[in-house]
């Protein structure tokens, strides 16, 4: 049984084929990157995996369970959580509340429990709050526990998104450009943190533009261009792959080379 197996998935929007017959797999404990130029369909793949889009073809399996036609909420329950390219924090809520929202599916009391403040309610709330503070500590946000999400600097907000995804008790984290908007020092720290996540047992699928990040951290890389998979392999293989360089620098280079 594979960890994440994606076979021949296709996403058609009217006449546009945003993702075309893409297959890839992620093994447990890996850090795998999905790269490609703007508009290559990377975020679309994330939206397909998490059930935001209903895919038009192919199969996706996570720990032996088919993901196709599952509701996003059920996919989160299976253990896949994500962050967003354009931050989507609950900006009017506090950092700790953001993380507690992430724990929603694992908080095991019902509506009337909260109305009557039962023992179960108090125990669960207390456990989750402690866990939330621990997660925030691990990601270096201890000093922002009480802050409102919108008041944090950009880089810190990205961390809150990761913390929120961790809070769902996910096994697979889909990180959509986590280093965007971070300065080199913050990026360096983020790399350390992502490795640490892997060491703690998380598996990570990453979309990233920053080649420095990708080459540094990935066990394996998949390259998308115009919705198609054009290459996959180890970081050093990808760095020397002609098709990949072409895709990033435009097709011109190839023509010139042929002249």
């Amino acid at each position: 049984m594979g960890f994440l197996n994606v076979e021949n998935i296709t996403m058609q929007f009217g006449g546009l084929r945003a993702v075309d017959n893409v297959s890839f797999h992620v093994d447990q404990g890996e850090i795998v990157s999905l790269i490609g130029p703007n508009g290559a369909g990377k975020t679309t793949v994330f939206n397909m995996l998490t059930g935001v889009y209903r895919i038009t073809g192919g199969t996706m399996e996570f720990l032996g369970t088919a993901l196709v036609d599952k509701m996003p909420q059920d996919i989160v329950k299976l253990g896949i959580a994500r962050t967003f390219q354009n931050l989507r924090l609950f900006s009017k809520m506090r950092v700790i509340e953001n993380v507690l929202v992430g724990m929603h599916i694992n908080t095991r009391y019902r509506f009337f429990s909260s109305l009557f403040r039962t023992a179960l309610f108090r125990r669960e709330e207390s456990e989750k709050a402690v866990r939330a503070v621990e997660i925030l500590k691990s990601i270096g946000l201890l000093k922002h526990v009480n802050s409102y999400a919108e008041s944090l600097p950009y880089g810190e907000q990205r961390k809150v998104e990761i913390a929120r995804a961790m809070a769902t008790d996910a096994k697979l984290l889909l990180l959509d450009e986590p280093a965007a908007g971070m300065n080199p020092a913050e990026t360096e720290e983020l790399l350390r943190f992502i490795r640490q996540l892997r060491d703690e047992g998380y598996t990570i699928l990453l979309i990233e533009h920053d080649m420095n990040v990708v080459m540094n951290i990935s066990d394996r890389i998949y390259v998308l261009d115009h919705g198609r998979l054009i290459a996959d392999g180890l970081p050093e293989e990808i760095a020397n792959n002609r098709d990949v360089v072409d895709a990033y620098l435009g097709g011109e280079r190839k023509k010139h080379a042929e002249d």
């Binding site: 998490t50 935001v52 996003p72 909420q73 989160v76 329950k77 959580a81 994500r82 967003f84 989507r88 924090l89 609950f90 900006s91 009017k92 809520m93 506090r94 700790i96 509340e97 507690l100 929202v101 992430g102 724990m103 929603h104 599916i105 908080t107 009391y109 509506f111 909260s114 109305l115 009557f116 403040r117 309610f121 108090r122 709330e125 207390s126 709050a129 402690v130 503070v133 621990e134 500590k137 201890l142 000093k143 922002h144 526990v145 009480n146 802050s147 409102y148 008041s151 944090l152 600097p153 810190e156 929120r164 769902t168």
Partner: protein, 357 residues
């Protein structure tokens, strides 16, 4: 003002000092407010004033009901006069037609209105923003029509007459003896406690998450449809109970025009002027909006112009409402949580204040 415990206003801002001061002595403040509220009927007020205070408490409760929907989940309803009317008619008709006494009628009116809230919540799932508001506005008109046309049940335009006054163990509640006020005070306090309990739970956090970003909430595994309907149901329940109470304080008489669109507007004004998402805002908003026409009675028709201008200015310059500030107090942790954090070397005092970065 410099205070040893809360720092100076210049350093920390007025809100910070105010909130921390209030928080430190909140037991005292709540006791004073409680005593004042309970003492109202014994203050020898005239009928008009007593009625005004009762109406302020009633509209605080209506505000809290709508606040669950607008303030927590961000769904704007212009149809709450519909729920209000359904609650009032249900409570009145159960008494007049079936001969039930007030208390079970009130509870049943709440449950019935909540069921209607569930039904209205279902088709509105796919709507948001203005579209949702228009549907709820339509709902208000439909209720109005049903109340007027279904004469065999509702007495139509004639209205429901001879609604008895509430009694409990031989004691009759009326306006003069402050009984009406006591009932609505108890209902409003219960509602406030209930709203706060919901807000500070996973349900409340799910509501607020949906308001902030529905897609992100979905991605956290929150069944957003279920919670949006739940908000409708809770909101309708509270509004229905408030309606049931209203049916008995109106000289034993209600008619469909008691629940027209203007009432919806007044309820939503209470929520917006007072401060979305807060309880204090509902009380303040109700007091302000009900006192305003009374205080400015001398201006005759002009008071509605001023009223309108105030609302527009409010929306423009303080959209969060008069008392709708973001708290500067730290996130409230239970004593048990603090103890456990302490045990793990994560002393809550090391966590920052809520002031932001």
């Amino acid at each position: 003002m410099k205070n040893r415990r809360f720092g100076s206003i210049r350093e920390n801002g007025f809100l910070y000092v105010f909130e921390h001061f209030f928080s430190a002595y909140r037991g005292f403040f709540f006791a004073v407010c409680g005593i004042l509220l309970v003492a109202v009927p014994y203050m020898d007020l005239n009928r008009a004033t007593l009625r005004l205070v009762t109406m302020i408490a009633l509209y605080s409760m209506l505000g809290m009901g709508l606040n669950v929907l607008v303030g927590y989940t961000g769904q704007v309803s212009l149809g709450h006069a519909g729920f209000y009317g359904i609650g009032a008619y249900a409570c009145a008709l159960l008494q007049v037609r079936l001969g039930l006494s007030f208390w079970p009628s009130l509870a049943l009116a709440g449950v019935f209105t909540a069921l209607v809230g569930l039904l209205l919540g279902l088709p509105t799932l796919r709507l948001s923003g203005t579209y949702l508001s228009i549907v709820t506005l339509g709902f208000c008109e439909v209720v109005q029509m049903v109340l007027k046309q279904w004469e065999s049940v509702t007495f139509g335009n004639y209205g429901v007459r001879n609604i008895p006054k509430p009694e409990l163990f031989g004691y009759t509640f009326n306006l003069q003896n402050g009984g009406f006020y006591q009932i609505i005070l108890a209902l409003a306090v219960l509602t406030a406690v209930g709203c706060l309990a919901v807000k500070n739970s996973k349900t409340g956090r799910a509501f607020l998450a949906i308001k902030d970003d529905e897609l992100a909430a979905t991605m956290m595994g929150i069944k957003t449809s279920r919670y949006k309907i739940l908000a409708f149901v809770i909101s309708a329940f509270i509004t229905g109970i408030a309606g049931g109470f209203y049916s008995v304080i109106n000289n034993g008489y209600i008619e469909p025009t008691n629940f027209v669109f203007n009432i919806s507007v007044l309820i939503i004004s209470v929520v917006i002027v007072g401060g979305l998402g807060t309880i204090r805002g509902m009380v303040f908003g109700a007091a302000l909006l009900l006192l305003f026409p009374e205080v400015f009675r001398g201006l005759n028709e002009w008071r509605f112009v001023i009223y309108g201008v105030l609302l527009v200015l409010m929306m423009q310059f303080r959209p969060q409402g008069a008392l709708g500030w973001q708290s500067t107090l730290p996130f409230k942790l239970s004593r048990r949580t603090k103890r456990e954090l302490e045990a793990r070397g994560l002393s809550p005092s090391r966590l920052n204040e809520g002031k932001g970065a």
